[in-house]
């Protein structure tokens, strides 16, 4: 068991004081607590599993979701300073939507959104509960004594035992008295709780995987070192999200995988003269193919995720009539996913991604060095961000009210390229100055994104309508699709009209000043 100064995950429930003992002699402390007024139940076998998303969204909010399989099966959502909420859970819960409507589901959904829950750690062991009640039978304090603890997946046995006091709000004096009894019995206080101790002992990080593009960088280091560090970090993200994408665990795996690929493409595109020519060229081609393959499945994911928002303004009857359209979209999405998985498996089988990873991790021995390989990283990044900004502004200025939708789509890609550079090389830029510039860019990106989504989705809706018509769909469904398409088209038109204003705000002195301030100092 870890000592009190060890760093462990936060305790479950608002007020839990945890003690640990290397000894398995529990009778001494039980006797002392019984003398104080506690009464103990018999032993029960307990299993607690921590559930979280792959990227640890609950842990990031200081929340913990446990599935408890003891006397009764329940889900418990709590955390330090948070009143724990309990809900019976006989069936498995993978998504927030698997729970009945109510505050528990609403809270969970607001944190995990569309992500799936997966077991992070299971702790099994023996539990004895003790309660201290007053003359009316009111509980004043409870303790949970655990021993014979074992963790899964590591299957490590945890020596000794733990004892947690679960404070009852408003009865602090009783909790303090309980603490004194336990300390007198020779137990020592530890940080966190039993789950946290078990996670630390098993080497399980309950915070999940973060697909953050930011890595520590040195502006004076050779450009190739910084670019390779960024690409290696992105390669890790691609690798981490691979399995979840292939298994279609939840839509965020594909999203994060796709974003990591796109960021990689942007960095490769902006580092043509930094990387060895042959390596860079092959990587650009490979990632272009992979990136393009993700488009159809992701577009349809967005469509399905946004469906409730898109249809919210329609009458209940119209929404119901749209059922076959949504079903067809789901079938299209499943087909796009199958195609993607085929391509991903082929890409993995070919072994190039593993070679790419080895190249990033090993020393650079390529004979054809990049022209800017030894240029200071800060100089390189600042020059590429300026060029990227210039390109975005030049292209944006050419867009007229009658420009085709593709022009806006291309501009969106320009904006993304710039944004990815800011994300990936963010550690070189002062946070507050970067945030100021990113805020301006984000407003433009949001407009372009909404326009593109509406454009793609209106187009897809027409295809769906055509296909359903061919299969003899009810006229009510076709009329409802027409209504939805009209609504989406209005949205597309509105974002198109807003574009001029949004771009005008971006193409301004204030943005140029924000850009100058942000890059000031990193290019030596």
């Amino acid at each position: 068991m870890r000592s009190a100064d060890a760093t462990v995950a936060p305790a479950m429930g608002q007020d839990v004081t945890t003690f640990a003992s290397p000894s398995t002699d529990l009778e001494t402390v039980i006797s002392a607590l019984e003398a104080r007024g506690f009464r103990f139940d018999g032993h029960e076998q307990e299993s607690r599993t921590v559930l979280d998303t792959f990227d640890g969204r609950l842990a990031a909010e200081d929340l913990r979701l446990e599935r408890r399989d003891g006397g009764q099966r329940e889900l418990v959502l709590g955390g330090p300073g948070v009143v724990a909420a309990h809900v019976p859970a006989d069936a498995g819960v993978r998504f927030a939507r698997d729970l009945p409507p109510g505050p528990f589901r609403a809270r969970l959904a607001s944190t995990i959104e569309v992500r799936a829950l997966a077991p992070q750690l299971t702790v099994v062991g023996r539990l004895r509960r003790g309660e201290w009640r007053d003359g009316t039978g009111k509980v004043l304090a409870t303790v949970a004594l655990r021993d014979g603890l074992r963790t899964d997946p590591s299957a490590d046995d945890l020596p000794g035992a733990t004892l947690e006091i679960e404070h009852v709000v408003g009865y602090d004096k009783r909790a303090r008295q309980t603490v004194a009894v336990i300390e007198d019995a020779g137990w020592h206080r530890v940080d966190g709780d039993t789950i946290g101790l078990a996670a630390a002992a098993a080497g399980v990080d309950l915070h999940g995987f973060t697909s953050s593009p930011t890595v520590p960088l040195d502006a004076r280091a050779p450009a190739i070192d910084g670019v390779r560090a960024v690409l290696a970090n992105l390669a890790e993200s691609i690798e981490a999200n691979w399995q979840g994408t292939v298994e279609d665990v939840d839509p965020e795996f594909l999203h994060d995988w796709r974003v990591a690929v796109r960021r990689t493409r942007s960095v490769l595109g902006e580092s043509k003269h930094v990387l060895p020519t042959a390596v860079g060229q092959e990587a650009r081609e490979r990632f272009r193919t992979l990136g393009r393959a993700t488009g159809p499945a992701r577009d349809l994911d967005v469509y399905i995720i946004e469906w409730p928002t898109y249809t919210a303004g329609l009458d209940a009857g119209v929404r119901e009539a749209l059922g076959p359209a949504l079903d067809l979209l789901r079938r299209h999405r499943d087909e796009a996913q199958r195609n993607l998985v085929e391509l991903l498996r082929a890409a993995r089988a070919d072994g190039w991604l593993a070679r790419w990873r080895s190249w990033l991790d090993g020393p650079v021995t390529d004979p054809d060095q990049g022209r800017d390989q030894h240029r200071p990283l800060g100089d390189h990044v600042a020059a590429r961000i300026r060029a990227s900004h210039r390109r975005l502004v030049d292209h944006g200025r050419q867009i007229r009210p009658d420009s085709p939708a593709e022009a806006l789509h291309d501009l969106r890609k320009d904006a993304k390229r710039l944004r990815y550079m800011l994300d990936c090389f963010g550690s070189l830029l002062p946070d507050h100055r970067r945030d100021r510039f990113v805020k301006r860019l984000k407003a433009l990106q949001s407009n372009l994104g909404e326009h593109q989504d509406a454009e793609v989705h209106v187009h897809h809706l027409r295809l769906v309508s055509h296909e359903l018509h061919e299969h003899g769909a009810a006229s009510g469904t076709l009329v409802a699709i027409g209504q939805l398409a009209e609504q989406l088209d209005r949205r597309r038109h509105a974002t198109r009209v807003e574009f001029a204003e949004q771009f005008g705000a971006f193409d301004s002195k204030a943005t140029r000043r924000a850009l100058r301030d942000m890059l000031d100092g990193i290019d030596g």
Binding site: V83, H86, P100, P103, R105, T136, V168
Partner: protein, 242 residues
């Protein structure tokens, strides 16, 4: 939980609804505002507010220090004591009396999903302050010929208010053996705005709450009354979180 009339099953519903809400995964704070302190009694909590009602609604008053854990996970209680009999008077002494209870609850908004306020009957300054704090008014209604009139009075009173809470009446203490009550309950469900579909039966198990000092779901979870309170919470959750 509110009714102009007394003896309609308000506290019984507040206690059982709070329990069922917490069992369904809500973090619940039940605030006993009735000086009789019946809800406080049912949860075996001492009827004591340090400083009394005057200090609580005063300038420096705060609710957090009065919260007590119950024996049920996710369910906390602010107990009542006899000082609440002067709550109207103390509220009257504050700057914005109808906003005071909302002001006391606000700092706890992130800690709880549901705050259930068990109000004393009548239209008083306390009830007006409750109207200012509540998103919905759950109104237990015994199906009698006067019930519709009482609901109309309440609707009329709230009609003039800005941000009036949603009124959610439901049939309470219904004696299924009485044909008139059954038909009136059905008529109210069909005609009264917001009327919740679940009917709470008049049942002897409710009287046992005083002996057991616990919600019915704890000691008689399979009885019709217990299941009705569970369904009633389902109705409320469906309206507020759909």
């Amino acid at each position: 939980m509110y009714s102009i009339k007394g003896g309609v099953g308000k506290t019984t519903t507040a206690v059982n609804l709070a329990y069922e809400a917490s069992r369904s995964g809500a973090r619940v704070l039940l605030w006993d505002l009735d000086p009789q302190g019946a809800a406080t009694f049912f949860f075996r909590v001492q009827p004591l507010m340090k400083g009394g009602a005057e200090e609580l609604v005063g300038k420096r008053g705060a609710l957090a220090g009065h919260v007590r854990g119950t024996d049920h996970a996710g369910l906390h209680l602010v107990p009542a004591d006899f000082s609440l009999r002067h709550l109207d008077l103390h509220l009257d002494g504050t700057k914005r009396p109808t906003e005071r209870l909302a002001g006391l609850l606000e700092p706890l908004a992130d800690r709880y999903d549901v705050a259930l306020l068990d109000c004393p009957p009548g239209i008083t300054l306390t009830s007006e302050s409750v109207f200012g704090a509540a998103e919905a008014l759950l109104v237990p209604t015994i199906p009698t010929t006067l019930s519709q009139r009482t609901l109309d009075q309440l609707a009329q009173f709230l009609g003039d208010r800005r941000d009036a809470p949603t009124v959610l009446p439901f049939a309470s203490m219904v004696d299924r053996r009485k044909a008139l009550q059954r038909s009136l309950a059905a008529e109210l469900a069909a005609t009264a705005a917001g009327f919740l579909p679940t009917t709470i039966p008049s049942a002897s198990v409710v009287e046992r709450m005083g002996v057991e000092r616990a919600p019915i779901g704890v000691f008689a979870p399979r009885t019709a009354a217990s299941l009705a309170f569970r369904d009633l919470w389902g109705d409320v959750a469906g309206r507020l979180w759909s």
